[in-house]
């Protein structure tokens, strides 16, 4: 998960860990790019507004790489989907969650994405 807002990251880690997932947190877009090949990720969660490079830039990097092109990505933002430019929504993610979100809603979405 790439999220610069510490308290959001804490909440997500708590909820997903409780549901049996392992979570690694990158604190900005640059760190997220560095972490991409650390593991074979089941799901990548990207906040959109982050320092160094934003979530859309990280998503472009992911989609350019063959090994990651099929990895499901969930975009997380305080913007509603209708406020996001269409060309960005078409970068290869059909998963979008607006802040504020209920952590249960997030874990349900992640389970759906990993096919549980």
């Amino acid at each position: 998960m790439a999220e610069d807002e510490e308290h959001i990251a804490q909440l997500v880690v708590f909820k997903l860990t409780k549901e049996g997932f392992g979570v690694t947190v990158a604190r900005n877009g640059g760190e997220a790019v560095q972490f991409l090949h650390l593991k074979n990720w089941s799901v990548i969660i990207l906040d959109i507004m982050m320092p160094i490079c934003d979530g859309w830039e990280v998503l472009k990097t992911i989609r350019r790489q063959k090994s990651l092109s099929k990895t499901p990505v969930l975009m997380l933002s305080a913007k509603r989907p209708e406020q996001v430019p269409k060309e960005e929504l078409h970068l290869g993610t059909e998963h979008y969650l607006s802040k504020p979100f209920d952590p249960s809603e997030l874990s349900a979405k992640i389970k759906q994405m990993v096919g549980e």
Partner: protein, 133 residues
């Protein structure tokens, strides 16, 4: 979400509330230095996290600040209100009493009129249909 049900969640919410004192300092500094880009980012981040932790009044005022910045409105009332809301929230309770503050209503009115104005502008910018023959 029921924050009181789980002790870890309850502690996390209290920790978030305590962190609002630092955010108040950050806000005051951004206002003092006139850093509008910094204020926009600050407000955007705060909306998401405050509403997620169910500090709904704080989130609503931060959202008004975002709106005022977007529409280049006077920021004095809304930044003052947000600074107060952050101070009041540090003990873990959303300052719902600020919803009745006249400044809150005034800021909401400004945001509403800005929204209406931008809607009118965008409809004026729409290409007109040729008259039907």
């Amino acid at each position: 979400m029921d924050w009181s049900h789980d002790p870890t969640l309850k502690a996390m919410r209290l920790e978030f509330a305590a962190s609002l004192a630092e955010r108040k300092q950050e806000l005051d500094l951004l206002v003092a230095t006139g850093d509008l880009k910094g204020l926009q980012e600050f407000a955007h981040r705060l909306v998401g996290v405050a509403l997620t932790y169910e500090f709904n009044t704080v989130g609503a005022i931060a959202s008004l600040l975002e709106n005022h910045l977007t529409h280049k409105r006077n920021l004095e009332n809304v930044t003052g209100l947000l600074s107060e809301a952050l101070s009041l929230s540090t003990q873990g309770v959303d300052p719902v009493q600020l919803n009745d503050d006249p400044r809150m209503q005034e800021c909401a009115c400004v945001a509403e009129s800005s929204h209406a104005e931008s809607k009118n502008e965008s409809s004026l910018n729409q290409p007109r249909k040729p008259p039907s023959t």
